[in-house]
Symmetry: C2
Subunit: 355 residues, 2 copies
């Protein structure tokens, strides 16, 4: 079967031939439909993530997949069911985090991530997985199923942010997304449509005309150009923000978020920057957090419950959003196009097969 | 009646004569027993807090009080009941935060604080208060009632920290208190006795012999000298920490806390430092928060529910702790001694009367 693999840090993804996998007991065989491409894939290609699977010289890419059960193999799945795989797997048998259904909370060393670190991904015509890591989704969502994984990551982030404010009465009126990539735009749409937050903002650094600014404004949200209004000036120019979601990986945003928050607000960080030393007013940061009961959280990955919540959220978002957000779905013969980047590219996927 | 008042920033507290207050409708008259002294009082004396009450040239100090109801004045309190007053009051009538019992979440401008900013404190032979702000406590706790307010502040901090980890299974095995002042030591005892956390640590910068180190070790906790082991080296020298409670006001601790936390851990900040610019590795901080699901929260003040929880916690702490922690209770004729500071002073109070 065909697969898309890369030698991390040593070139572009290539098409390779691999044997079609046979499912072990408790595993199902899945025929891949579509696999999305995101920033993490580009980081993997550049060699910024960890080890290859033992003995491999290339990593099969892809962690945002949707497929159809080809052989349920005696598991509780059914042949023909449309499924989305979760990403993390236990490295040696299992561990407490996986046993309680919280692989997203496992520390380094207690997980591998398919298509990212230590395990092959889903960019292949077929893959196998323990059935517990395959989340059934409605057939009518099959074409958009590759968005379930990224949206699940935001479901977790929002879940943790809301929990952090659960010791008191908290109703966010204003929310801000830092970053106008596909995940930022999807999250903005969730704030607007699913959480029904009154006023939403999205920060980027693009000139008009721009397709992401078009989406932001069509959602009824306000575009903030970070070159004109830095994050810490947002309260002065617009308003203080109750809920800030960071998806830029720009480290100064983590600090500036505290300044942009309203009293009792929460900032949730998802970006993964490299080292960067800079000066801050640490006294002011500390005092702001304390005197206004502010919170700053990091979150990573997601668990099965977040995948299920993501299916629900996706089904509530408007069709036009997906039409404008998914800028390209490419067959295997032109898979390279799915890895191209640019201001006119928002979200792409590789299509391996159709239902 | 006698009261202890100060002209903030212009000298030491002095004994003044003030008219004994008359309770308005809905207010009770309280005969003061004891009022504790803490770091905030010293900040008020130094002039680091805000406005005096309208028209006043001196502020009556004191926000950690216990008293006995002298005249319940038709409220639901009873004469002779021992009560502890909460600190915040609405500045103009009331507002949403007070109406829902969460004055601690009110932003600046929506509260005054008795004895701190905008309202006279409790260091007087009598004070009045709306009965809703008077929390009855058992008579046998009367002598220690001035500890209810500071402990309530830690109850809130722990409450918010636990809430922030409530979206997943979290059982802290190791907890660290930054700061060996009286609030730090009380919180350490709560971690040990009330929360039953396995391993507890307390950070200070004192040489032995020292009475606070004695208390730390008598609690079965480990003393960490910050001059030998800075906060960010604690994981290497001791272990990574699940729950960190900061009560130093030292701004670098806020940043270093992230490094000292175990995966999925939470740091809760209570100190209120002034401005202080310094360099950080913001990229590393951001990445650590995200990849290990860490949280950093600030909390301030407390509400009535936290006062009630504090009464419960205090009743679980051992007697020897209070004997060693309360280093001085001084009558009005020697009230100045309660404001003295030094390595042999842990917690002091002024005694206005006895039951």
């Amino acid at each position: 079967m065909k697969a898309i693999a890369v030698e991390p840090g040593a070139g572009d993804p290539v098409l390779v031939d691999r044997p079609r996998p046979e499912p072990d007991a408790g595993h199902a065989l899945v025929r891949t439909l579509r696999v999305g491409v995101d920033g993490t894939d580009h980081e993997v290609i550049a060699g910024h993530h960890g080890d290859l699977p033992a003995g491999a010289d290339r990593l099969v890419l892809g962690h945002e997949a949707v497929g159809v059960v080809e052989d349920s193999n005696g598991t509780d799945l059914e042949d023909g069911q449309v499924v989305v795989p979760t990403v993390r797997r236990p490295p040696n048998g299992t561990n407490a985090y996986f046993e309680r259904g919280e692989p997203d909370m496992a520390p380094e060393g207690e997980y591998v991530e398919r298509g990212i670190v230590g395990a092959h991904g889903f960019m292949a015509e077929y893959f196998t997985s323990p059935s517990e890591f395959l989340v059934p989704i409605p057939k009518q969502l099959a074409a958009l199923g590759f968005l379930v994984e990224p949206v699940s990551v935001s479901e977790k982030a929002i879940d943790h942010a809301v929990a952090s404010r659960s010791a008191f009465e908290w109703e966010p009126d204003a929310a801000l997304v830092l970053g106008n990539g596909s995940l930022g735009l999807l999250t903005l749409a969730m704030f607007d449509t699913v959480l029904e937050i009154d006023r939403t903002y999205c920060l980027g650094r693009r000139d008009r005309p721009d397709p992401t600014i078009d989406i932001i404004e069509k959602l009824g949200s306000t575009y903030i150009d970070s070159r004109q209004t830095p994050v810490d000036e947002i309260p002065g120019t617009y308003e203080s923000i109750d809920l800030i979601y960071e998806a830029t990986g720009y480290a100064k945003h983590a600090v500036e978020t505290v300044e942009a928050l309203a009293p009792n607000g929460v900032g949730v960080l998802l970006g993964v920057p490299g080292p960067w030393e800079f000066e801050i007013d640490g006294g002011r940061l500390h005092k702001e957090l304390v005197l206004h009961n502010k919170a700053l959280l990091g979150t990573v990955n997601s668990h099965r419950g977040h995948f299920e919540a993501a299916v629900d959220s996706l089904s509530q978002l408007p069709d036009w959003l997906f039409e404008e957000l998914v800028t390209g779905v490419y067959g295997l013969e032109e898979f390279e196009a799915a890895f191209e980047q640019g201001n006119d590219v928002i979200k792409t996927a590789v299509e391996f097969d159709t239902l």
